[in-house]
Structure formats: structure tokens, C-alpha cells
């Protein structure tokens, strides 16, 4: 069935948040996850601080390169940027009306200003750069690896375990939701804008919570069964290699270059 578009491996991985069998490691996957998280954070910080057009465009180009190196297909990248840019359309349309400056167009008594358009474009550039950077450096990572890396970066153990449990059971509860939704649909439920609809959704939410709580009790019991004594252990440890130092050097040089363009 050749007419069905083949899904790129990355796409499969992103849907389930876990590495699947046909997962293909990218160039970035060879580097230490800790270094990647720090690089993503530094990228966002520097992009927040720069204001010149040259440095903004340079940072955006860097983010595009990083996303490509992370092995994402262009289609996946665009799909990821879609929700952000839906909001950005609103920014582009609305913000220039309340920015004082040279008007370039009038709608009744409302003036659409050139300065406002510049601000809006800056917002669009910054937003896309940061989402791309986080996508390339962090989202390309398995959530389990991310949790371990965060722990080694000093994030509290409890918070990391909260995240790992949430990642593990999100899909389970999503399926629970789909099952409940199918059940109400099978009984002839059609969502409309009326009280019955809102009440039904309220019950659906309530039932999801009850199922979640029940399952958490079973999990705690199972943990006790296996001798849980109030401490979890994280099994992955990372070691910085010469390759990671190279990665750190390259990213630092890039950030320094952006800063140089901005302030020199």
C-alpha cells in the first residue's frame, strides 16, 4: 500500500513519548543529555536577552540547524510550531493597533503602526526560536532519560519521580478516557451546547479521577509488595566524554557569537 505516506520514525516516538523499536538516534542523541538540557536553557536565556535583528535572525538560524540535526522531519517541525503560530497570527494582527508610531494602514479610526509590526515580528521570531531550540535539544530525548538527566542537574528527586510517574501513566489514563468516551458515544451521546453535555463531561472527568486514584492505590500496594521503603532509585548515570566537551564548546562558541553580534 504505497499510497499511504510512511511515518518517519521520529513521529512515532513523539506520539507515545517513548523510544520505539524503529527509533533512529540522531546526531544530537550522541551527546550527554545534561549538556543538551543546559544548552537548551542557555539558548532560551540568550534569545530572551538579545534585541538586535542580526542576532535574532542568527539565533533563529541556529535553532533551525539544531532541529535538523535532531533528526526531525520538516513536517514534524511544522506541526510542532503550528499551535504557537496560531497565537502569533493574533499577535501580528492585534499588537500593532495599540503600538504608537507611524501608521501604515487604517481600519476606521484604528491605526496599524509600523513600529507595532516590528514588535510583533520580533515576538514571532523569538517564540519560534525558543520552541525550536527546546524541541531540538530536549524534546528529542526519551522522557526517562530526561528525568534522570534532570536529577543529575540537581532537580529534587521527588519532582523527578512525579514526572516519571506522570509520563508512565499519562498514556494509560488517556486510553481510559478514550474508553469512557467511546462508552458514552455508544449510548447515543452527542456533544451540544447544553446542560446535559456539561454534566456528562463533568461525570466523565470525575470518573477519570476515580480511576486514576484507584490505580495509584494499586501502584502503592505493588510497590510495598516489592519492599518499597520511601526511596526511589535512579539507575542511569552519565559520564561526560570528550565528545560532550566538544558539544559544550561548540554551543558556547555559538552563544558567544550571538552575544558578540548583539553587543559589539
Amino acid at each position: 500500500m504505497t499510497w499511504i505516506a510512511t511515518e518517519p520514525p521520529r513521529r512515532v516516538k513523539l506520539l507515545f513519548m517513548f523510544q520505539t523499536a524503529n527509533f533512529v538516534p540522531s546526531v544530537l542523541d550522541r551527546f550527554d543529555p545534561r549538556a543538551r538540557i543546559v544548552a537548551a536553557a542557555a539558548f532560551c536565556l540568550i534569545d530572551t536577552l538579545v534585541r538586535q535583528w542580526e542576532s535574532l535572525v542568527l539565533a533563529f538560524a541556529g535553532a533551525v540547524v539544531a532541529a535538523t540535526l535532531a533528526g526531525f522531519w520538516p513536517r514534524t517541525i511544522l506541526a510542532r510550531l503550528a499551535p504557537l503560530n496560531l497565537f502569533m497570527v493574533l499577535v501580528l494582527v492585534i499588537v500593532p493597533f495599540t503600538t504608537p508610531g507611524t501608521p501604515i494602514a487604517f481600519f476606521g479610526s484604528w491605526a496599524y503602526s509600523w513600529e507595532g509590526l516590528l514588535v510583533a515580528v520580533e515576538v514571532v521570531l523569538k517564540g519560534n526560536t525558543m520552541v525550536l531550540a527546546v524541541m531540538a535539544l530536549v524534546a528529542s530525548m526519551d522522557p526517562i532519560v530526561l528525568g534522570h538527566a534532570l536529577h543529575h542537574l540537581g532537580v529534587p528527586e521527588k519532582l523527578v519521580h512525579l514526572m516519571l510517574f506522570a509520563v508512565r501513566y499519562f498514556e494509560v489514563l488517556r486510553r481510559e478516557y478514550l474508553r469512557l468516551a467511546a462508552a458514552i458515544k455508544a449510548r447515543g451521546f452527542r456533544p451540544r451546547m447544553n446542560r446535559h453535555t456539561y454534566r456528562t463531561y463533568g461525570y466523565l472527568v470525575g470518573m477519570l479521577l476515580v480511576r486514576g486514584l484507584d490505580r495509584s492505590e494499586r501502584i502503592v500496594a505493588a510497590m510495598k509488595c516489592r519492599g518499597f521503603r520511601g526511596r526511589f532509585f535512579l539507575l542511569d548515570h552519565f559520564a561526560l566524554t570528550r565528545r560532550d566537551l566538544g558539544f559544550a564548546a561548540v554551543t558556547t562558541l555559538f552563544f558567544a557569537f550571538v552575544a558578540w553580534v548583539e553587543w559589539m
Binding site: L14, I94, T98, P100, L159, M163, V167, L209
Partner: protein, 216 residues
């Protein structure tokens, strides 16, 4: 009440607000974690997964549909643990689905978790111990107030970030009014359901765990 990456990083005030948001969120998460026993980790995680899944529900509204946020109900059920739970949900959304981002992580956590905790303080006793009518009204208020409070905070922040964002702030605020009504209705019926089916879930912030270890 998500603020995406971008609008707040084009002015000094905006950047300071992002910084303040990060500090506040860190404090809230730390406090929430302190109030949360190690054995509650699965419970809080499963409930936040349930909320995460519930936010996939799209509810018809006018000609379109909105997805549920349920921050009021999160607060009602998790109390202070809402801070870490919401932080995790927002971080996962930012990292794996592209909503929000790294620099806005703290601020977005505050925008959702602060109203959630406020609603817990305001409405929890009424929802848990009030008569059915009172509980329904308190549930509605809880759902609606959590959304409105978040939207007001967000609009205020956009106004403060720069004069040019005034129109955006008004748009955001107005867009949240119908959402607040829907959230209120759904929260009210969820609360009534839980009172009948599983009242102890409404005690979750101080629910004793059934299985205990001798030395932990």
C-alpha cells in the same frame, strides 16, 4: 492561560516578570513538595495524569469548541500539591508538545497553580461539607474563578509588559469569559459526582494512605 514564548521577552519589564514568575513557581513547587509525602508521589502523579488526559476533552462552545483546563478542580483535589502537579504537566507540554516554553515555564505554572490553590482555600470546605446545592454553587465558582483569576493575572502581566500589548490583554481576557462559564459547569457536576461516588477523593490533600510502611 498559557502565555507562549515571545511576547514577554521583548521588553525589560516582560523579562523581569518572567524572572519573578520563575522564582514564585520555584517557591510554590518547593512548598508543595514539602507538604507531599514520598508515598503520595504515585497518587499525585496519577491524578495529574488524569487531569492531563481530561484536558484533551473538547467541549462545544458556540460554533467552536474549547478544551478543558480544570485548574479549579486540580486545586480542590490536590491542594498545595497542585503546584508540582501543574508544573510537571506544563513542563511535559512544553517539552513534548510545543505549548509554552522554557522561559515561560515558571510564569505559566504560577498563572495556573496560584488560582488553583486560592480556589482550594476558598471553596474546599463548602464543596466538601456544604449541602448539595451549596456544593454545586461552590463547585461552579471554583471552576470559573480559577480560570478568571488566571486570565486576569495574564492580562495584567501583558499590560505591564508594554503598552503595545494592551489590545492583546483585552482579547485574552474576553476570550476566557465563556471558557470560565463552561469550566464552572463541568467542575460543578464533577464535584457532585465525586461527592456521591468517591467522597474521599475530595479529602485527597490529607487522605491517609491505606498501606503504610513501618520504617520509611
Amino acid at each position: 492561560m498559557h502565555i507562549p514564548e515571545g511576547p514577554l521577552s521583548v521588553s525589560t519589564t516582560g523579562i523581569s516578570i518572567l524572572g519573578a514568575g520563575a522564582v514564585l513557581a520555584a517557591a510554590g513547587v518547593a512548598w508543595g513538595l514539602r507538604k507531599m509525602d514520598y508515598e503520595r508521589v504515585p497518587q499525585v502523579a496519577l491524578l495529574s495524569s488524569a487531569f492531563f488526559a481530561a484536558s484533551l476533552i473538547h467541549v462545544p462552545l458556540g460554533g467552536t469548541s474549547v478544551h478543558l483546563v480544570l485548574s479549579g478542580l486540580v486545586g480542590l483535589i490536590l491542594g498545595w500539591a497542585a503546584f508540582p502537579a501543574i508544573f510537571i504537566a506544563i513542563a511535559l507540554q512544553a517539552a513534548f508538545f510545543g505549548f509554552g516554553g522554557f522561559t515561560t515555564l515558571g510564569l505559566n505554572t504560577v498563572l495556573m497553580a496560584l488560582p488553583a490553590v486560592a480556589c482550594y482555600g476558598l471553596f474546599h470546605p463548602l464543596v466538601r461539607w456544604g449541602r448539595e446545592g451549596v456544593a454545586a454553587i461552590a463547585g461552579f465558582a471554583c471552576g470559573a474563578v480559577a480560570i478568571l483569576l488566571g486570565a486576569i493575572l495574564l492580562a495584567g502581566i501583558l499590560m505591564a509588559a508594554g503598552y503595545e500589548f494592551r489590545s492583546l490583554a483585552v482579547t485574552v481576557l474576553l476570550a476566557h469569559v465563556p471558557v470560565a462559564v463552561v469550566e464552572g459547569l463541568v467542575t460543578a457536576s464533577a464535584v457532585l459526582f465525586l461527592r456521591k461516588v468517591r467522597p474521599e477523593l475530595l479529602d485527597a490533600p490529607y487522605l491517609p494512605l491505606e498501606v503504610r510502611t513501618s520504617d520509611a
